[in-house]
Amino acid sequence: MRLEQNLIYIKDVVLGDVNKVEDGVLTVDVEGLKAAVMVDDKVKDVKVDIAKPGEKVRIVPVKDVIEPRFRKDGRNGFPGVTTKYEETGNGAVNILKGAAIVTIGDMVGFQEGVIDMWGEGARWTPFSETFNIVVDITPIDGLDPHQHEVVVRLAGLRASTFVGLAAENAAIDETKVFEIGTMAEETAKYPDLPKVLYVQMNIAQGLLHDTFFYGVDLKEIIPTWFHPFEELDNAVISGNCVAACDKITTYQHQNNALTYDLYDQHGKTINFIGNIFSPELTTLDGKFRNCDYCAKLCDQLGADGVIVSEEGYGNPDSDLVMICKRLEKRGIKTALVTDECSGWDGTSQPLTDTAAEAVAVVSSGNVSKVIDLEPADKVLGNLKSAQTLAGGWDGCVEEDGSLKVELNAVIGATSEIGYHYASVKLY
Amino acid sequence: MVKEIERYGIPIVHMATITTISQSVGANRIVPTVAIPYPTGNPNLPLEDEYKLRYSLVERAVNALATAVDEPTQFEG
């Protein structure tokens, strides 16, 4: 496959009445954006705001983050979801790099998911560095939670495609080319390089806990091999809402950090032979089946090494350990990425290390680490959710109005695909 | 509890049905037992046979206390 990413670097965003990019300034057609989202008659109202890096703005509760893009060919959207199924991963895509659609929509009252654009909070989320077009979606009354989630999910995808139209004729700052041939071709080219696979675990457990591949609910598949570029090209979307710190947003699927960094090594130190989904189910029998099958698939494909990334905290920890054990038992070397819970003061013993096989683990942070969020000048979203943030324990609101929150609540803070910079060090 | 007691230099036998747990709690002398609700018994046996079974398990455990070990060791029947 050959994927060309034409990058248009965005340095500022303004609201206006036309979609365009001039000198790195993205103008968004607000009425057009609203209309694009309101094609769904289950959307009652849409509000659009901008949040820029450094502004004292808090966005909460974030549902999803999506990168606005444009494709010249027929599949300008998310195949299998907002457009007809078509294979992705080939061709050219124009990307508004540095801009992001951030959707707000509270399906349940306890939803968190905060992005602070400034201060301490900003350091812990990757989305304080993007120019965020914040789309607040109110659905019509009377929807059940499932319908509500679908409405907000699709609205975000449509909004990103609409804003992406600005990339159609924009001047391209840089083009990145990604190319990987068939496994036979690459192996012929690099016969001496170790074969490496990337196993991506995804939450697949029900409402607000789902992931979709070409629109297919991952609950319904057995682990499957796919091309890394398909994910980089809109084939994977997130339906996760309540694992703010360690869910993979759609934006992070479009820009999967592990895929990028493995590709960087392709042909140099490794032969990167692809990605595998391993859905995280709720039943133990389902977990055993998927983890076994996942290890078998890696073995069958001849992998020498595998990176396994987790999504979520709690029951997926069991999958991670099971996959690791099974791979190591087959003689395949693993490196794992997971977050941990070592308590407020970092003195609780996190659990992943109870598997003797888990010898190489990257910790993407302690979900219970407490950080201070200063009072915001402006809150985009739902004040109630801001209160939920503040209600987690006694004494978490200071006199000056600043909040103490756990990283739990911060979007992408402990990304287990290694998208951010948090780690844990022993003292 | 096993480790802490052994740390006083007193040999201790863990008599348990799930021996993987015995190992994870750090027992050095382990005697596998019958079943969780009746580790040292078996209600399906006639009383006399059940007692013999129990006596043999206890005897095995006591003998384990008098046996030198270097590492976690299971004393099977």
Binding site: L258, S342 | G9, V25, P37, R54
Partner: protein, 345 residues
């Protein structure tokens, strides 16, 4: 303003004398001696040594409350920022005293530095809060130990970061969440590459150094041995007089069985985790007193210990298990018990 440093030494390193002076009552002296003097020698303007507490190791061991009260009083008077105890190398009594002194200082909010050998029994009593430099096991290595401790004092006083690897101290076990230079994905790729190339790498979630206990020596003569019974199966006298909880107990109990030949009829289980019917017919099915008593009568063992110990729970998830074990083990040791049978359900 300079940070104040207070030292703690035993009678030997404090220059009072050897074993014959081990009862030496604690004293505070403004003038430094021995290792304290050596560490303070290189202090810059930002550090000020306020003096040294010298205390006999036996005094600390036998009159610990008095020793602690004295140390607390000196700390209150001198208001140090940093408390430096030892180095104690592998000296057990000195290690305990250093750990105890550090506890007092730590409770007063003072930063504690010490130095010990990894097997010093005092280490586990202060490792979690004090910065304990890794020293050799004998005082002959004093010259290597002192710079490590001095380095810790300087860095901690200046608020600089110290790490177990760079600064050679025993990790306190605190896992601090920080932001680092490389994002997680790069670190993961590098870690895998290192593994594939058989190069060294450092995992970010290390395996706990499994706390294994050396197997205790076997009983040499069973016929003279006192054997105790214990269980996590929740066995109690009928009526559960001490109200042992049915799961994840917060307590342990002991019951006198010296006049019983079997548990049947008088004991039952309160454990909520298994079907109690079989045990309640005959509690010996969970705690085999009848068989052990018969062995005693047959002279196979010397004696069944007069009490059995009971709690509920299965170990790993019971945070209290460790505490229970320590308490029960202490009693058993003091009672001269030679071996224990612990049954779990």
């Amino acid at each position: 303003m300079a940070k104040k440093v207070l030292f703690y030494l035993n009678q030997f390193f404090g220059g009072i004398g050897g074993e014959d002076k081990a009862d030496f009552e604690p004293e505070f002296r403004a003038e430094l001696v021995g290792p304290a003097e050596a560490i303070a020698k290189n202090f810059g303007d930002d550090l000020e040594a306020v003096g040294v507490i010298i205390c006999g190791d036996n005094f600390f061991g036998q009159k610990e409350d008095e020793a602690r009260a004295f140390i607390a009083q000196v700390i209150d008077e001198q208001q140090p920022d940093i408390f430096v105890a030892g180095p104690a190398f592998n000296a057990g009594r000195y290690g305990f005293a250093c750990a105890g002194a550090c506890q007092v200082a730590n409770e007063a909010g003072v930063t504690c530095v010490s130095g010990m050998y990894e097997e010093n029994p005092g280490l586990e009593h202060c490792q979690s809060f004090a910065w304990v430099a890794q020293t050799a096991n004998a005082a002959a290595q004093m010259r290597k130990a002192l710079p490590l401790m001095a380095n810790l004092v300087k860095k901690l006083a200046a608020g600089e970061e110290v790490t177990p690897d760079d600064d050679k101290y025993f990790a306190q076990g605190r896992r601090e969440c920080i932001l680092v230079e490389e994002r997680g994905s790069v670190r993961a790729v590098n870690m895998l590459l290192a593994r594939l190339n058989d190069e060294e790498f450092t995992t970010e979630l290390p395996m706990p150094s499994f706390d294994v206990v050396e197997p205790a020596a076997p009983i040499l003569d069973l016929s003279k041995a006192t054997i105790a019974l214990a269980t996590s199966g929740g066995i109690v006298p009928n009526g559960n007089p001490d109200r042992l909880q049915s799961a994840s107990a917060q307590q342990w109990n002991k019951y006198d069985i010296s006049s019983y030949d079997q548990l049947k009829g008088d004991f039952y289980t309160v454990h909520g985790g298994f079907d109690p019917v079989y045990c309640n017919e005959t509690a010996d099915r969970v705690l085999p007193l009848d068989a052990l008593r018969d062995m005693e009568k047959a002279g196979k063992i010397g004696k069944v210990y007069d009490f059995f110990y009971a709690t509920t729970g299965t170990g790993t998830a019971v945070a209290n298990a460790r505490k229970f074990g320590e308490e029960i083990g202490k009693e058993l040791k003091e009672a001269g018990v030679d071996g224990v049978l612990l049954t779990s359900t």
